[in-house]
């Protein structure tokens, strides 16, 4: 018990000082179940805030142009908020219909299932069997699987997609061009690169990361690994390992483990695309 509490305090301190890995966050979550009184503890955050503010030099005032920008931003922000409120007021009334309990729906589900069984029964017992022979089922020609390029083109035409250009992580980093197309509703997306360096697939891999606002920003979502074995344009389908709530950044790293990594050191950061 005492050891668990000590470990919990260590993790709370680590969380404030460095952030936690996914495993550590999970461990802390479990420990907090044992000590629920610490669930909403902010004492470490407050300590960090006090440290951040200690010996703070506040002699330099905020630049005037920045103040003007913030005031402009506030105009835009409040105008958007007002639009939202107006839009909510215009919602059709059925949007507020009371929710049905699952038991209400179960009744309908049973009724629907019964009708299906009844329909099948009537079909098999009453329909003229000769008709079946006269009207053989049509052969369905399988639709050819779309290529990744075609799927990307299709997604580009969708209303809900976002398209972002890759930018180098540092000004002196090699220029990598291309883009990300992502549709959050469909949870589907593609990354495209024009000149990502070729790598030795037995030793290295490229890995995509998706920073999601609804997840801990310290633990971006693994978007899949991919290789580049030829020069020129490549398109890769995004393989997000978790549901993405609200993407705020996509990033590609080069990892020395050919299978990819759980946590990237970000030393091999190649390109970023911010939403």
């Amino acid at each position: 018990m005492e050891n668990n509490k000590e470990r919990m305090l260590e993790l709370l301190a680590d969380q404030t000082a460095f952030g936690l890995t996914e495993d550590e966050a999970l461990e802390l979550k479990m420990l907090l179940k044992e000590f629920p009184e610490w669930e909403n503890d902010e004492s470490f955050e407050l300590t960090a805030l006090a440290i951040s503010m200690s010996n703070l030099d506040i002699s330099e005032s905020m630049p005037t142009h920045l103040r003007s920008k913030i005031l402009d931003n506030s105009e835009k922000y409040f105008a958007k908020e007002e639009e939202k409120v107006e839009a909510e007021d215009l919602q059709p009334t059925f949007a507020f219909a009371p929710r049905r309990s699952i038991f209400d729906w179960l009744g309908w589900a049973f009724a629907a299932a019964f009708l299906v069984v009844l329909g099948v029964n009537i079909w098999t017992t009453r329909v003229d069997t000769q008709a079946k022979v006269d009207n053989p089922p049509k052969t369905v020609t399988p639709t050819p699987e779309l290529t990744v390029t075609q799927k990307r083109e299709q997604l580009l035409a969708s209303v809900g997609k976002i398209q972002l250009n890759w930018t180098p992580p540092k000004p002196d980093a090699p220029a990598v061009t291309g883009d990300v197309v992502w549709d959050n509703q469909k949870q589907e997306g593609y990354i495209r690169f024009q000149n990502l360096p070729v790598i030795d697939a037995s030793k290295e891999t490229y890995q995509l990361w998706i920073v999601d606002e609804t997840h801990d920003p310290k633990t971006p979502v693994d978007g899949g690994v991919f290789k580049v074995n030829k020069e020129g344009e490549i398109i890769v389908e995004i393989d997000a390992k978790l549901k993405i709530g609200k993407p705020i950044m996509f990033a590609v790293t080069k990892e020395s483990n050919p299978e990819g990594v759980v946590i990237s050191s970000l030393k091999g950061l190649m390109a970023v695309a911010k939403v």
């Binding site: 305090l9 260590e10 301190a13 680590d14 404030t16 000082a17 460095f18 952030g19 009184e37 610490w38 503890d41 902010e42 004492s43 470490f44 955050e45 407050l46 300590t47 960090a48 805030l49 006090a50 440290i51 951040s52 503010m53 200690s54 010996n55 703070l56 030099d57 506040i58 002699s59 330099e60 005032s61 905020m62 630049p63 920045l66 103040r67 920008k69 913030i70 005031l71 931003n73 506030s74 105009e75 922000y77 409040f78 908020e81 007002e82 992580p169 540092k170 920073v211 920003p217 310290k218 950044m249 990033a251 050191s265 970000l266 030393k267 950061l269 970023v272």
Partner: protein, 186 residues
């Protein structure tokens, strides 16, 4: 009872934005200047922080914290997130600047809070390596790996110093109990 600035912002009162800037602009700008690598970055960060403040103003509860604490917490979280997201690969030169201890007791220094003053005192009683690691992690947003590389110190030792240092400062500030009033007084 008069409404606070944050309550008024939450109610969509645009005139409160000016007051919010007057009251907290200097503090946020100073925090951003301390925690951002350059002025341009600090300007971007401050704009984001104010948007965060407007978005979160409705969550402010004056029983829980003062407005200054609430605003400074939002600012710090945003700044530290930016630092951690900013995938830098620091060279020795950039570390040299960062490893420099912050200046103390300058006439131009103004203390913004009672707890911040206490924290400054508490930092002095820490061992130099604890103080240095807390500065690098909490103020500069460096990861334990980056600190370990820069200081040539094992990863576990970095973590231990950070934990002990943080716990000591927390205790010094009287925040050691989760039930104690949570406030950094302005």
């Amino acid at each position: 009872m008069a409404k606070t600035i944050l309550n008024r912002i939450a109610d969509g009162d645009k005139s409160a934005v000016q007051e919010c800037l007057d009251k907290f602009g200097g503090l946020i700008w100073s925090l951003a200047r301390r925690m951002c690598p350059n002025k341009d970055d600090a300007e971007d960060a401050v704009q984001e922080i104010f948007i965060d403040i407007w978005k979160n103003a409705g969550r402010f509860d004056e029983i829980q914290a003062s407005e200054t604490t609430f605003v400074a917490m939002i600012a710090r979280r945003r700044l530290i997130d930016r630092l951690r997201k900013n995938q830098r690969q620091p060279g020795i030169d950039s570390f040299e600047d960062i490893l420099m201890e912050p200046a103390e007791n300058s006439n131009e220094m103004m203390q913004t809070s009672v707890e911040a003053k206490e924290a400054a005192k508490a930092l002095k009683i820490l061992r130099p390596e604890q103080r240095q690691i807390l500065h690098l992690s909490i103020v500069q947003g460096f990861s334990h790996q980056e600190i370990s590389d820069a200081l040539q110190m094992p990863l576990g030792t970095v973590k231990t110093h950070a934990r002990r240092g943080l716990l000591q400062v927390r205790e010094f500030l009287g925040l050691e109990s989760a039930e104690i009033a949570r406030e950094v007084k302005a």
